[in-house]
């Protein structure tokens, strides 16, 4: 078997020749039907195969060429195999930027693998998963997330077409199992951040699609996200980002009965209070308060648990009091004041004007003691804006809303 060296005259001519049908048809599916096209690839060395493969995939992307059958998926991923799996003739070291660019291109390509018929689409995704799944840890982080999102979208499609398919619910369940496994493969490759986010996305999707058993699936996905948070996210900045995302996700969901919602929101509150840095704890706990207000469990109505909301904010104040940096402390107080105002306006009865007044006077007391610098200016402005907002409410009261008369500004 002759292998043509990249850059040699024959190699160059062959590449030029093989690009002609790609450029002429602008449809790689047609190109692959050419009888003798694929075998010619075997003459190319690694570098040439790379260049030709990238050329093919880019042509597909530029022309939005959909790949609607499993056979065609197999054919294309077969011919561009150099981009999908490790090769026996690949060099020891590759340029990491080039590699990343190629894999991102493959990630994009996955969105072209689609069929109108959802059953067909599922087969395609399955086929793609097999191909890309054997790409190794370095590749799957680029190629499996698009597959997961494509699968989530497919689940919505099944729901839309439920009239035509009495088995749509079981199929949705299967899709989520497929996603669970696919995300699992990313975890095995020692990733944590992206799997956590994919699990949260899946939980939301399951909650929205409401197929049979969706609550169990959504709970499982939320638990998996939590496990990743507890076991794999150790950087404090990443922890704050992750727990905020988990809280934000849970706040949106309405598929959990009380039995499932209670442990989830409790875990959130606990995790927030255990963040390492005090300011993060304070902010985490304040964000968590929303779970107890607009979070939905059971009856699909907002919880409006004013006591727990108040507890969260009180805890926030306590934590803020423990901050040694005066500037940070005042900043946190102003943020907490804004949270208190938020709930006061919504009619939370545990939050009274007295509480607002107390916090306002505390801030007025401590602000002047701060060193005059840019940061203090910002905190000042923040506080002023908050007071102005309250003044606005006081001056033009909503007849149905709470009274601002007793507010001391």
């Amino acid at each position: 078997m002759i292998i043509l060296e990249h850059g040699s005259a024959v190699s160059k001519e062959l590449m030029r020749l093989m690009k002609i049908p790609i450029d002429t048809y602008n449809n790689i599916l047609t190109v692959l039907q050419l009888g003798h096209y694929n075998p010619l690839f075997e003459y190319f060395d690694y570098q040439s195969r790379k260049i030709m493969s990238v050329y093919i995939i880019n042509n597909a992307l530029e022309n939005d060429t959909r790949v609607p059958t499993q056979d065609q998926v197999d054919a294309i991923l077969g011919i561009v195999n150099v981009l999908v799996q490790d090769q026996s003739d690949q060099p020891e070291e590759e340029d990491p930027e080039d590699f990343q660019e190629e894999q991102i291109t493959m990630g994009k390509f996955i969105h072209l693998l689609q069929a109108d018929d959802p059953n067909q689409h599922y087969l395609i995704l399955n086929a793609a998963r097999k191909h890309f799944g054997s790409g190794g840890d370095n590749r799957i982080k680029f190629t499996l997330p698009p597959i997961v999102f494509s699968a989530y979208r497919l689940a919505y499609k099944y729901k839309e077409m439920q009239e035509q398919d009495e088995n749509w619910e079981k199929k949705c369940q299967k899709i989520f199992q497929f996603c669970h496994q696919t995300i699992g493969a990313l975890i095995k490759a020692e990733l944590a951040e992206i799997p956590l986010r994919l699990f949260l996305q899946g939980a939301m999707a399951a909650g929205q699609i409401e197929f049979e058993n969706h609550e169990t699936v959504a709970y499982e996905f939320m638990s998996q996200a939590f496990s990743l948070y507890e076991d794999e996210i150790s950087d404090s900045k990443a922890q704050l980002a992750a727990i905020t995302l988990i809280i934000g996700t849970l706040e949106q969901m309405s598929c959990f009965g009380e039995e499932n919602h209670e442990p989830l929101r409790t875990q959130c509150a606990l995790a927030a209070s255990k963040l390492l840095k005090k300011p993060d704890q304070c902010r985490g706990v304040s964000t968590c308060s929303h779970l107890f207000w607009s979070g939905k469990s059971a009856s699909n109505e907002e919880m409006h648990d004013t006591k727990r909301v108040s507890d969260c904010l009180k805890k926030g104040v306590k934590i803020a009091n423990q901050c040694m940096d005066n500037s940070v402390q005042v900043q946190l107080f102003v943020e907490l004041l804004n949270h208190y105002v938020y709930y006061y306006e919504k009619g939370s009865d545990q939050i009274t004007v007295q509480v607002l007044n107390q916090l306002i006077s505390k801030i007025k007391e401590t602000l002047p003691n701060l060193e005059a610098n840019e940061e203090t200016e910002q905190i000042n402005k923040h506080f002023q804006n908050t007071i102005e907002h309250l003044q606005l409410r006081k001056d033009s009261p909503n007849s149905e809303g709470p009274s601002y008369d007793a507010l001391l500004l």
Partner: protein, 181 residues
């Protein structure tokens, strides 16, 4: 002219911006770009840099670059403009929660994203904009996302926002005005 866009989610959820949008976004016409985040890769950032040299990006929950700031304030003409992805603001897309950010950043205009739903409204004399998703990327809450982005024309104390939406393969434009008080 300020281009406001975000939530592209390339390559996780989309492979490209719509062709019709790419045709409109040409270099030389835009001075500043404010991106709400979730590009998600450097490739998209580099593309934005070809449209304008002054590009500001804030961190979205799927951005691979963890060094983008959580929030940013940019001054254009008479306007202080705040930029934040919005997944950090709970509840997502909630006006009063966004108002808390507006007060903290002390801005006239607050730009946020994450919901993949275009919004532009005035609230307590301040202007709030969500450019939606420029690529029409999947969003768990919304099974039908309309691709959209916004161009701001800032003249003295008036901002005119042009929102571009791709509806049934055609680009539709709406105009909203905001005056600073």
């Amino acid at each position: 002219m300020v281009l406001v866009l975000g939530d592209l989610h390339i390559p996780h959820r989309c492979h490209n911006l719509p062709k019709q949008f790419k045709k409109l976004l040409v270099p030389g016409k835009i001075q500043h770009i404010l991106c709400t985040g979730n590009l998600c890769t450097k490739e998209s950032f580099d593309y934005l840099k070809t449209l304008a040299s002054d590009v500001h990006v804030v961190r979205g929950d799927f951005d691979e670059n963890l060094n983008y700031p959580e929030q940013k304030v940019v001054t254009v003409g008479q306007f202080r403009i705040g930029l934040c992805h919005g997944h950090q603001v709970v509840p997502w897309g909630d006006t009063e929660s966004l108002a808390m950010v507006q007060r903290q950043l002390d801005v006239d205009i607050l730009i946020s994203g994450h919901t993949h739903r275009f919004e532009a409204f005035e609230h307590e004399y301040k202007f709030y904009i969500n450019p939606g998703s420029a690529s029409g990327a999947y969003c768990a809450q919304d099974s039908a996302v309309t691709p959209s982005f916004v161009i701001l024309d800032i003249q003295q104390s008036t901002v005119v926002a042009y929102v571009y939406k791709l509806i049934d393969d055609e680009v539709k434009v709406e105009r909203i005005e905001y005056k600073k008080t």
